[in-house]
């Protein structure tokens, strides 16, 4: 049996915490004592390292669009020199979410440079940090979002980029050549950008209300209503839907309580469920309404049952970009990289219009490359016309809302309220 990575039947994408099936597989370990041990033992080695207590403030500036951050470059951790020859042979190690880069792209790259490309997957940033910090472990590429970047640079887990190897950076939106979380793109280049909206079965949902979030509160879809299994996305959506605040990083306990109370309503009202599989569940019909990332409807067209066309899928997003939650993932090179020159070259490849398009065609998540506009993608047949609103545009990034890195105490506040929802009381 041959495996063709470009076979559309094999396309899938999973950019964010896969709380559903994979965690569950990993969790084949019995709970009880077992589960607690792994992270604990990992933590044993370095108690008290570069520390910060539960309520302390971060020892580095937290980036915000109105307070952009230029990440420090230390003499002890310089970028690689210009004009080096690429490394050859051996393995090229990528640390990434599972199924987040097209196998075809990796295969071509490996063939071209005579390396075998291997992916070590993670489900969330805690896990990524634990893996990248393992002593003796080396990775050549990693995909940190803005919310985890500051601490990784502070802890010297990443190396600065040498832009002379990345001429394709000029292909990306100007906003992303100098983003607020990494002025001058010194450590990162953008990988994907996506918004958070509502995916639905257009054949079952006859009329979409002005505020599409209300579909989630519609009793007609009981048992087939899903929230993203992600506390920031779910609570953030409720903050916006109920017009509690536009600050989706709020540390106001009352606001959070109101938002989560509204989510708890969904349990009794529509028996709401949570996971991150909108891309397959809506096309397959398990879900009628699913909070989702904008890459889900695009990938969803490959999950339709035989005989159904993409017209049965619909995507709703807030029309006002200042109410649209935007996320992005970046590419960076770990300090431990053994093949930093090759890493720069793969970064450059991914920002290439053709390779970027190939990668997008597989995972459904768009790179912010100027040429790959909604019109272009529809014309090229990558996106059906009815889903063209799932393409994120530069004004969304400029005006949109984003989950920032917040203090551990704010994170704890959100987590406790999320636990209240998850307890289903």
């Amino acid at each position: 049996m041959t495996f063709d990575p470009n076979d559309p039947a094999l396309r899938r994408r999973r950019p964010r915490p896969q709380l559903a099936r994979r965690d569950v597989l990993r969790g084949g370990v019995w709970l009880g004592v077992g589960l607690g041990v792994a992270p604990l033992l990992a933590a044993c080695g370095d108690s008290g390292s570069s520390g910060q207590t539960a309520n302390g403030t971060a020892p580095y500036p937290l980036a915000r669009p109105d307070k952009p951050v230029t990440l420090a470059i230390k003499d002890s951790n310089p970028p690689i020199a210009d004009g080096l020859d690429p490394e050859e042979g051996g393995t090229f190690n990528i640390l990434n979410y599972a199924q987040y880069m097209a196998p075809g792209v990796m295969k071509d790259f490996g063939k071209k440079h005579n390396v075998s490309v291997e992916v070590t997957p993670y489900n969330n940033y805690d896990e990524m940090l634990a893996k990248i910090r393992q002593p003796g472990e080396s990775f050549d590429l990693v995909f940190p979002g803005p919310s985890v970047l500051g601490k990784m640079v502070y802890a010297e887990l990443l190396q600065p980029l040498n832009h002379s190897y990345v001429p394709h950076l000029k292909n990306v939106w100007p906003e992303y050549q100098d983003p607020w979380y990494d002025k001058g793109a010194q450590y990162t280049v953008p990988y994907t950008i996506y918004g958070t909206g509502i995916m639905y079965r257009a054949d079952r949902v006859t009329s979409v209300p002005e505020v599409g979030y209300d579909l989630l509160w519609d009793k007609a879809y009981t048992g087939k209503v899903y929230l993203l299994d992600d506390r920031q996305e779910a609570i953030g959506m409720s903050l916006l839907r109920n017009k509690i605040t536009r600050d989706v990083n709020t540390s106001n306990a009352d606001d959070l309580k109101r938002a989560v109370d509204s989510l708890i309503e969904l349990i009794g009202l529509v028996k709401v469920k949570t996971d991150v599989n909108a891309y397959s569940e809506v096309p397959e019909g398990t879900a009628t309404v699913h909070q989702c990332w904008s890459g889900d409807p695009i990938a969803g067209q490959y999950y339709l049952p035989k005989g159904e066309t993409p017209e049965v899928l619909g995507y709703w997003r807030p029309t006002d970009p200042t109410e649209y939650v935007i996320g992005s993932d970046n590419i960076a090179i770990p300090k431990s990289a053994k093949k930093p020159v090759l890493a720069h070259m793969l970064i450059n490849d991914l920002l290439d219009e053709k390779i970027g398009l190939q990668n997008f065609g597989w995972n459904g998540y768009q790179p912010p490359i100027t040429k790959l506009s909604a019109t272009y993608l529809v014309d090229q047949g990558y996106i059906p016309k009815n889903l063209s609103n799932a393409v994120v545009v530069p004004s969304d990034f400029k005006g949109g809302l984003t989950f920032y890195e917040v203090s551990p105490s704010t994170e704890a506040l959100w987590q406790n309220d999320w636990a209240r929802f998850k307890a289903g009381a």
Binding site: A54, N123, D126, R133, A419, A423, G424
Partner: protein, 304 residues
């Protein structure tokens, strides 16, 4: 001569404890140390930059506030985790009832009545273990979905389709019972198999009917096996968090294992997760001790 004997005694005295060494090592490495680590995290509450807990290895530095709060939130009716504890207890209870109702007759049949087919029946009971637990649960998702075979089969009898997977407690309880049934049957089978046939014959000879023989001879003699089975099944069931995730996925069927997962998987509060693990372990240990007490009493009675 006497010297030699005492040498021999001393050697045996050293031999027996030495034989216990591997077991002791196992117990310390895989239970005592991890359990202490869980405590050190639950009683610490400090984290490093990377959201990793910094365990408080020295008990003098322990802070009890997290664990006290976890206990309060678990066992007061208005507590955040109260509902999941109640749900865990109810689901485990009913799943165990189903296990007894299905598992006891099966074990009884296999042990007493199966004759030549006993090997086949045991093989059939163990057959599901050839397939991964998660895979079996995912298979149920296919069977139970709205247009799945279960609803199709119901349709033949004119029963309207039911949404089995929309956050139904009923489905979760049956899934738990299905998943853990083999764990229940095997120890029970072993204990029923050990019952001395002559005791049953004696009972029959004394003119007791088969129902009363079962109630007054078989059942009391298999009581310990039954309790062993219940304990072995209940322990993993109470900590389960993936069965309900797969067949329901709704917050209104979440159990305490799901709350533990929520706090341990990511975020700055792994100490709360550790606190919940601690409380769950204590609750289960309580049943464990009760079980040990029963077995001890039984063995004392046996030697008397």
């Amino acid at each position: 001569m006497p010297d030699r004997a005492s040498d021999h005694d001393r050697a045996t005295r050293r031999l027996w404890p030495a034989l216990a060494l591997p077991g002791t090592f196992w117990l310390i490495a895989l239970f005592v140390v991890p359990f202490y680590a869980v405590m050190a995290v639950a009683f610490s509450g400090r984290i490093n930059l990377f959201n990793e807990p910094i365990p408080a290895w020295n008990p003098l530095n322990w802070q009890s506030s997290t664990v006290t709060n976890v206990i309060k939130d678990s066992f007061t009716p208005s507590g955040v985790y109260h509902e999941v504890w109640v749900r865990t207890a109810i689901y485990s209870f009913w799943a165990l009832v189903i296990c007894v109702a299905i598992g006891y007759p099966v074990a009884y049949y296999a042990a007493r009545l199966a004759g030549k087919r006993r090997g086949l029946i045991l093989a059939l009971i163990l057959a599901p273990w050839w397939i991964n637990y998660i895979t079996r649960m995912l298979a149920w998702v296919n069977l139970l979905q709205d247009d799945g075979y279960v609803n199709k089969a119901l349709g033949w009898f004119g029963i309207p389709p039911h949404s089995w997977l929309s956050g139904s407690s009923f489905t979760v309880v049956w899934a738990l019972a299905y998943g853990y049934l083999p764990y229940f049957i095997i120890p029970l089978f072993a204990s029923l198999d050990r019952i001395d046939q002559r005791l049953l014959e004696a009972s029959r000879d004394l003119g007791v009917g088969s129902v009363r023989t079962f109630l007054h001879v078989t059942l009391p003699l298999s009581r310990l096996g039954l309790i062993t089975s219940l304990v072995i099944t209940a322990l993993p069931m109470a900590g389960d968090y993936y069965t309900n995730t797969i067949v329901s996925g709704s917050p209104n069927t979440n159990m305490v294992g799901n709350q533990i997962e929520l706090f341990l998987l990511e975020g700055p509060q792994k100490n709360i997760g550790a606190g919940l693990v601690l409380v769950l372990s204590l609750v289960l240990m309580f049943f464990m001790f009760y079980y040990l007490l029963l077995t001890q009493r039984a063995s004392r009675e046996a030697t008397r």
